[in-house]
């Protein structure tokens, strides 16, 4: 076998990523660098955005076989964890192990604040439909308003996998912007007197109640909405590890090593889905705008319901804790504490706000369960970009036949 110098050189040059680099790839490499910058220097949810940005960087290097759609590639294997709904529930296992439901159990009425905050999900769903998305896509976009990353990824991968990348980026970016988004809305909707309201000390809760609570929630919620069982079940299992007192090793593993490992895999997998053809579309811009709307409306819903509760209880509930009904734990609760302390420095709202904050986790999971119940068995996926390209390049007769084949395949999927 003989290799001429020219042929060999040509082969090597053609095998480099530079030879396959296009405008879209270069743009996405820049977007990846921006995400990494935001994670490190601006501290925007660094645990998620850094691996997500790096995953996007790897996926957009031509011929690297690192995109989520490159069968047999490393990140394609990680992506199976999202596609088969494994990684988000495992994250929830860790979240449950980290969460103390004590403040919620001491004041269970705050579950309603977690419910009220989900209005952001449905207003965004309506907005998404008005902007031209179908119901599945609108549901996946709306769930950004739940302010819960794993839930957003879970629903997006189930109902609109082609929108997973922009939805995940929007969800995690806005979660990190909660301290900027929420305070102006909270101050606009509440009076200075309302912000100064001091709440009664939370009553202590029996440890037995804390142990029985996860079992009760699983039975009550999952019997009503079976589709939410992977998420809520894992959340409650993690909490059982924490509260049972007999699984210290499992608790420690779930809240540290497991959640860290799964976070890396999940974020890399999401990043690997950020390719030019899935991300650089007008829909991405719409999703980013709708995501902001979702967070704002969720905050409005929580604070307005907080005001209603304040009126109904004769001023015993500070409306500021309503904004913590978005499930960005514990950031939203800290924002309630901060805004309350600005009005009265001796007012400590943090533990009171933790009740609606963790209620929001349950609320967003229930909202996801409703979407799965309504749309989960009729998933419509957009034809993959490659198939559309192939159809577009053949002669009309064959094109019609191929379109029919694709239609049948989609119906049977």
């Amino acid at each position: 076998m003989e290799f001429s110098f020219g042929e060999s050189a040509s082969k090597i040059i053609n095998s480099t990523g530079f030879s396959g680099l296009e405008g879209g790839d270069m743009t996405m490499l820049l977007v990846a660098c921006v995400l990494i910058y935001l994670a490190i220097w601006k501290k925007f949810e660094p645990l998620l955005l850094l691996p997500m940005g790096f995953g996007a960087l790897l996926a957009n290097i031509p011929m690297s076989m690192m995109a989520s759609t490159d069968t047999g590639g490393l990140l394609n294997f990680f992506y199976q964890g999202i596609k088969h709904e494994i990684l988000p529930p495992l994250i929830f296992l860790g979240v449950g192990a980290l969460t103390d439901f004590g403040p919620l159990l001491a004041n269970p009425a705050t579950l309603l604040l977690g419910a009220a905050a989900q209005i952001g999900v449905y207003v965004t769903l309506i907005g998404a439909v008005l902007l031209g998305f179908n119901m599945h896509e609108a549901s996946a976009i709306g769930i950004i308003g739940g302010a819960d990353g794993p839930t957003s990824i879970f629903i997006a991968s189930k109902l609109a996998p082609h929108l997973l990348a922009p939805i995940a980026v929007a969800a995690y970016s806005y979660m990190s912007l909660v301290p900027l988004i929420q305070p102006p809305i909270m101050k606009l909707l509440t009076t200075a007197e309302e912000r100064k309201i001091k709440m009664e000390q939370l009553k202590p809760i029996s440890q037995t109640v804390k142990i029985v609570f996860p079992v009760v929630v699983t039975i009550v919620c999952c019997l009503m909405l079976p589709g939410v069982t992977p998420l809520l079940g894992m959340l409650m299992l993690g909490n059982m590890f924490r509260e049972s007192g007999v699984t210290a090793r499992l608790h420690e593993t779930a809240e540290t090593h497991l959640i860290n490992i799964v976070t890396i895999l999940l974020a890399l997998a999401v990043g690997s889905s950020m390719t030019a053809d899935s991300f650089l579309r007008f829909e991405t811009l719409k999703i980013i705008v709708l995501g902001l709307l979702a967070f704002c409306i969720a905050t409005v819903g929580g604070v307005v319901f907080g005001k209603i509760m304040c009126k109904l209880t004769g001023g015993r509930v500070n409306p500021l804790i309503g904004s913590a009904g978005v499930s960005a734990v514990p950031m939203a609760a800290r924002v309630s504490q901060k805004v309350g302390a600005e009005a009265d420095s001796s007012n400590f709202l943090l533990m009171h706000a933790m009740g609606p904050n963790v209620a929001g986790v349950i609320g967003s999971a229930v909202a996801a369960g409703v979407f799965i119940s309504l749309f989960g068995d009729t998933v419509v996926t957009e034809p993959h970009a490659a198939i559309v390209d192939v159809i577009g390049s053949v002669e009309p007769g064959a094109k019609a036949a191929l379109s029919q084949v694709v239609e049948v395949l989609q119906k049977n999927h």
Binding site: L105, Q118, Y122, I126, S206, L225, I362, L374
Partner: protein, 87 residues
């Protein structure tokens, strides 16, 4: 488009209703649980001997803390002080 918009509104109203119903049921369940299993404070320390030793160990802690603070304030080593009791 109008049909989709109406469908979205219907879904939203239905879904919010479901969420509120599910969480209200959960509230009642938690309230029942808390009533059935009331909080019991942990038992207080029983014996006098335990009390004396706990007081004396508490005083030792106070002495150690005051010694360390004085030493830091005066820029000296804690070994140069000997506080034996607090009245």
């Amino acid at each position: 488009m109008e049909v989709s918009f109406l469908a979205a509104i219907n879904v939203s109203i239905l879904a919010m209703a479901v969420i509120f119903i599910v969480l209200t049921i959960l509230i009642f369940t938690i309230q029942t649980l808390v009533k059935l299993i009331p909080y019991e404070p942990p038992p207080s320390l029983p014996s006098k001997q335990k009390t004396i030793s706990s007081v004396s160990s508490e005083q030792d802690d106070h002495v150690a803390a005051i010694t360390a603070t004085l030493a830091m304030h005066m820029g000296k080593s804690p070994k140069e002080f000997k506080i034996v009791s607090i009245s």
